[in-house]
């Protein structure tokens, strides 16, 4: 039986989900590209150190970057071929640069996977997850092994199948096509945590997925109301576990671990098939692209190649977004390279995205009313514009999810999220300085 969500998180917004574009398109394997550019920094934490050198021959699934420190993840070659360069490339949406390993594909598809596990125990699963370089595939990219090997007691594992971002359907397709593998992956994670209370939350706009998970007896299924940001960690915990994560604390502090369905799938692949994380499913959607579809893409594939495979960009496309349209980042070029954390590429036309200029705040309070964290979003914008970051901190800017509900409903089209990011950076810099 599906249990209804608890409706603890009251605000949030209703957005046209636009999932019909790619909802019924099965996941396709995209052919491996000629060259891959593998970033050494794919998620939160320190960048990995390249352990191959120029001219080396690498096989598919061979480790190319060694994790540097605890919060860091290994990086693997996604094609077989020769390393042609190790160079710094500018990130698509900032001025910083990251080290990339460039591999020329020889199309031999030679594989070198991880050694098979002798026995499956708590320790070996966590070790395998760390070894396979698995990070949270929902978007944040926090190394999963670090999440699972915490010292605090864990009572509950919540699986995130909400996928509340509009346009994106990669998690949904994965649930429809590989549900057995996902379930096994979830059980391995539960074994690693030593919990039996497994809950899965799915939004109501995916009735087929809900039907599918009704049959799985050892999970508790929660059908959640279609609302953004239902799939955010804190709101998901509130809905499925009836617990609120206290201010400034992490879910682990109340004994809950949240993983994404895509992460569970890679855990299964790493534990049973010994396959490290070198490819992922992503959605190419939006009205700006000719054939939107779900693709299984090698990590390091050029964004341009992916878009061209989906039949190029229309002439009325105005925005290319990496990730979902609510929290993703707009790119100034199509020269980006796929990372572990990319859940989609959305090409938006002018009618879908709102390009109107921002005007003065009229203090209507809609942002505060819709904030899932019950913060006064307009204050962040105000204080960021006058440089009072201490006041923004007092109003709780560090607890903001950056979900974008405030900017979505703002009649003056203020870029509140941008102000929040600015406040967070300034406050972090100030704390780092001390």
């Amino acid at each position: 039986m599906a249990i209804k969500g608890r409706k603890i998180f009251q605000p949030g917004i209703k957005i046209p989900d636009m999932k019909y574009l790619t909802e019924d398109k099965p996941i396709e394997q995209m052919p491996a590209p000629k060259t891959v550019y593998i970033s050494m920094s794919q998620g939160i934490g320190a960048a990995a150190k390249p352990i191959v050198s120029v001219g080396d021959r690498v096989k598919k699934g061979q480790k190319t970057g060694q994790a540097d420190g605890v919060v860091s993840a290994n990086v693997f070659a996604s094609v077989a071929g020769t390393v042609t360069a190790i160079k710094d490339i500018q990130n698509p949406n900032s001025k910083a640069t990251t080290k990339y390993v460039v591999i020329e594909n020889d199309f031999s598809e030679e594989e070198e996977f991880l050694p098979p596990l002798k026995e499956i125990t708590k320790e070996t699963i966590i070790e395998r997850i760390r070894e396979a370089g698995i990070v949270g595939l929902g978007g944040a990219g926090f190394p999963t092994a670090v999440k699972l090997s915490g010292q605090k007691p864990v009572e509950m594992l919540i699986v995130n199948g909400a996928e509340c971002e509009p346009y994106l359907t990669c998690d949904y397709r994965l649930m429809m096509e590989n549900s057995d593998e996902i379930n096994k992956g979830i059980r391995y994670v539960a074994q690693a945590l030593g919990v039996t209370d497994i809950r899965i939350g799915i939004e109501e706009n995916k009735p087929k997925a809900i039907e599918k998970y009704k049959k799985v007896k050892d999970f508790q299924l929660f059908s959640l109301k279609k609302k953004y940001p239902q799939g955010s960690e804190k709101t998901l915990i509130a809905e499925c576990a009836r617990r609120k994560v206290p201010w400034g604390k992490l879910p682990i502090d109340i004994g809950v671990v949240v993983i994404n369905v895509a992460t569970a799938f890679t855990v299964y692949q790493a534990v049973e098939k010994n396959i490290p994380l070198y490819e992922r499913v992503l959605t190419v959607a939006g009205k700006g692209v000719d054939n939107p579809r779900n693709l299984r893409v090698r990590i390091g594939t050029k964004t341009q190649d992916i878009i061209e495979y989906c039949g190029d960009i229309n002439k009325d496309a105005v925005k290319i977004v990496r990730g979902g349209p609510m929290m993703g980042k707009a790119m100034h070029t199509v020269d980006g390279y796929t990372k572990k954390t990319d859940s989609g590429i959305v090409v938006l036309t002018a009618e879908e995205t709102n390009t109107s200029k921002q005007s003065a705040c009229i203090n209507c309070g809609r942002c505060a009313k819709k904030c899932p964290m019950h913060l006064m979003s307009m204050k962040f914008d105000e204080y960021a514009s006058i440089g009072r970051f201490d006041m923004a901190e007092r109003f709780g800017v560090m607890n903001c999810l950056e979900c974008g509900c405030c900017s979505f409903v703002c009649p003056a089209k203020r870029s509140i999220v941008q102000s929040v990011v600015l406040c967070k950076q300034k406050i972090a810099a100030k704390k780092g300085g001390k």
């Binding site: 957005i15 496309a317 929290m327 938006l348 003065a360 006064m376 999220v417």
Partner: protein, 336 residues
């Protein structure tokens, strides 16, 4: 491929705009405006139009002084000054001389709105401030200039100078009109927009359906005023309806007190704000014997920044729990 735009997230945005909200307010004011014209004739139309035109022109002049391009001004025109002008016109009597709406609008837009920084930066509602400015400056015209309306006011010119609004006469112990007359505005002297409560209510329903205003706040204000009037009238229950149906209470509660810029932006503050408004209106009416809705709103506008409370955030402990934590901490320290 067109030019690629880079911006911050979210990349899709809601359809609502400031301009849309202001147009909704103007649409909601049309019934009251039409009823005003029916009751008070062409003079009413003239007064409101004068206020509107002056407001918009004043804003344009200010923007031109700021060296903005005319094309930009027209593109960014968000109808806020038109709303201000319309509200100001509707709060005047139809018999005022032509310079009253003009000076009121200039004061409202130039001093209250533009000098404080334009849209969204005014500390008090410009229309209210403009009305109070002309009320104090031209007191003799403003108090005695009300006329009794007639249905054929547009055609006939022989109007009776009423002298006092029903509220003023009621407060001073004069005879009462029936509640139905007060509700429909028939035979009621007063400002152009305030007499027909039915028309104002129609606009309010439109605004609530369009989700421009929250239905709670006008009701809270009006009901609190009524209850306070009953209490001040020594628990005379029959004072409830006349006190809320007369005067500018409906116009103030629906269109002026709910002005976004000058109301607290969170629910907690709004409850206090509108209750205080209601109490203030009833008490001031009782004490001064004149119509005081605009003065009450002006006063509350000024204390609004103090009522902007931060709501309890998601996952934050309540202040009672915080107090208990502190108490137990203090007790444990004392035990040592």
């Amino acid at each position: 491929m067109a030019k690629i735009i880079v911006s911050d997230s979210p990349h899709i945005k809601g359809p609502r705009t400031t301009k849309g909200i202001m147009i909704d307010v103007i649409i909601a004011l049309i019934p009251a405006f039409v009823m005003g014209c029916v009751f008070f004739g062409v003079k009413a139309l003239f007064v409101v139009a004068l206020a509107c035109v002056t407001s918009v022109l004043t804003e344009f002049v200010f923007l031109l002084i700021q060296k903005k391009k005319i094309s930009d001004i027209l593109k960014e025109f968000d109808f806020t000054s038109l709303v201000t002008g319309m509200l100001l016109g509707l709060t005047l009597s139809s018999e005022v001389p032509f310079y009253v709406p003009i000076l009121g609008s200039i004061f409202a837009i130039a001093v209250i709105k533009m000098l404080f920084g334009g849209t969204g930066k005014n500390i008090v509602n410009p229309a209210i401030a403009g009305r109070i400015f002309v009320f104090i400056a031209f007191q003799s015209v403003m108090i005695s200039g009300y006329v009794l309306p007639s249905i054929n006011a547009i055609t006939s010119s022989n109007q009776i100078l009423g002298g006092a609004t029903p509220l003023t006469s009621m407060l001073n112990g004069g005879p009462n009109l029936s509640n139905l007359d007060l509700f429909l505005g028939t035979g009621v002297a007063g400002c152009i927009g305030e007499t027909s409560k039915a028309a104002l209510l129609l606009g309010a329903i439109y605004l609530v359906i369009k989700r421009v205003i929250n239905w709670k706040w006008p009701i809270l204000y009006i009901v609190t005023t009524g209850i306070m009037a009953v209490i001040l009238d020594k628990f005379n229950l029959s004072a409830f309806l006349p006190s809320i149906l007369s005067g500018g209470l409906f116009l103030g509660a629906i269109y002026m007190a709910t002005d976004y810029v000058t109301t607290p932006s969170t629910d907690k503050g709004c409850y206090i704000y509108f209750t205080a408004l209601g109490i203030l209106t009833a008490v001031l009416r009782y004490a001064t014997k004149i119509e005081v809705v605009s003065f009450a709103i002006l006063l509350m506008n000024l204390v609004m920044p103090l009522l902007n409370f931060r709501p309890r955030a998601f996952g934050e402990i309540s202040s009672w729990q915080k107090f208990k934590q502190k108490l137990s901490h203090w007790q444990s320290r004392r035990a040592k």
